[in-house]
Amino acid sequence: MRLARYILRRLLFLVPVLLGAIFITFFLTRLVPGNPIEKVAGPYASDEQVQQMKDEAGLLDPWYVQFWHYLGDLAHGDLGISYQTNQAVTTDLREKFPASFELVFFGMLLAVGVAIPLGIISAVKQGTWVDQLTRVIAVLGVSMPIFWIALILVSTFYTRLGWLPGPQGRLPIAFSDPPHVTGMFTVDALLDGDTDTFWAAAKQLVLPVITIGLTAMAPIARMTRATMIEALNSDYVRTAKSLGLPTRVIVSKNALKNAIIPVLTLIAAVFGYAIGGEVLVEYIFTWPGLGKYSFDAIMGSDFPAVQGFIILAVAMYVLAYLIVDILIALLDPRIEY
């Protein structure tokens, strides 16, 4: 019950952040010099027609009226119609979401799955080759541009070695999409019992997932190492050692539990970077997800689509923080909720 109240309070706290984000997004897109209506109307529309279209779209109203209407529509789950696809932006986003989710999910899974064990081992065995390797990964991963890593991976494993398929989306042309269940092609193909499609989809995933995983891995490994070292040097670990507890128990039970909390918060932040990095990765891999959609929308001055994407991205980011906060509240008895 108290946890439910805590979650509710955290949710309420998110409202001003989301409202602020919507407000900023609304203004940013209104600042754009090129008028979208003129783009939609095309070069042959008369001035009167353009004026009339602006009036119909409500673009002649004062900004606060426009903002109010926008908020009202948003409350009904209406993000407007995309100029490019002529579909509701919410429909577009829903269609594109699974592709991005599959990518970010496996990318983060790879990052967390590699970074946390690496960070722990490197803290326990400071100065060994594992430790050196972790430090190199941690500093290199945050120093290389994500889009460049993607290009190097593709040119090595596709162009040069030919081990993996090229940057041509979620499935090679010869394959058709598996029946929609979760929207994640690998999962859907398995559910369908279609192993050929599964392997094809999995192969397409490898390079973009590694790209996202590599960049997300670096800060997590670094933070895990740092907090683990601090925990291992703490009084309670010294006490546990003096009591003669085996190292394995000390590391996993005493140190890790304390060290993991800041790492969890960082994972939420890294998730935010992953959503951003995704735009670049999807662009390179022609991955038909949210990132590619937003990129096309920006290039085509598709206001509603850009706005919709940014709001969704902020919402996901904030939600990730919320989930992490709840996890921490459950893990850390010192936190009052």
Binding site: L140, S143, M144, W148, L151, Y273, L280, I284, A313
Partner: protein, 305 residues
Amino acid sequence: MSAPTIDLPTSPVTPPASAAALAPPFRERLGDFWYTLRRNPTAMIGLFMIGVVIFAALFAQWIAPYPANEIDFAVVAQPPTREHLFGTDQFGQDIFSRVLFGARIDLMIALSAVVISLIIGSVYGAISGYVGGLTDEVAMRIMDILQGFPRFIFAMGIAFALGPGIETVVIATAVLNIPGYARLMRSSMLSAKTSQYAMAAKAIGANHRAILFKHLVPNCMIPIFVISTLQFGWAILEAAGLSFIGLGVETSRAEWGAMIQLGFQDFLQGHWWMYTFPGLAIAWTVLGFNLLGDGLQDVLDPRRR
């Protein structure tokens, strides 16, 4: 704000004449700092790497064998040779020369962005922390909103609104870094404003502005400078990312991200040198700043050693 109560130690030592004298002299601290820093290999490697880039930026016109924009259709898309160390792009421009000239644009973008965000963020955070109360609360919630955006998405939004160009990249990158500075300055300010030198300054009758900007802010600057090295790295990565997707610097200019975009356009032809070398330049530079930042943190926080 609640006025901090004066609580000077009642020791037999005569109180110093000036409030600033209570803090150790800046030059002496700087000397100590350099002494420790020189013994930190990480920081020194980083400093060396940055030095190379600054050297390239300053002397590009003498080192570079070709001008940054010399189009020569006789040598289009050539792999690395002795004449063209890093090869040429699809306009026959020498990539080695462009990488050197690129150091100028990229360092200038990063420097401008960092300076702008440092000034705005520090002043904002300093005032917020010093004034405290409701002002502080509201000011920090605004920063929450700015940080509620995934970084690169926010940069894209700003760049989208402003249209491509160098100024766009600077502004977008600067806005991203403001909350970081504001938060750091505010938290340093919260502890600095209750310090003895702050009270001493108050005791000798200094006004708020003098206390804030003459006594407190200078004492909170060291962590600000340390994160600036890391912010530099971020700024270069973000600027290059924006240019790469066509929201930043135009591809006609010798900027690293824009050069990678040119290389990407020729990607399927297997012209690997077009994007590999500018990318290495980015990685080298950002790595330099990150190593220096790590080293600085080690030096300033002995617990991390």
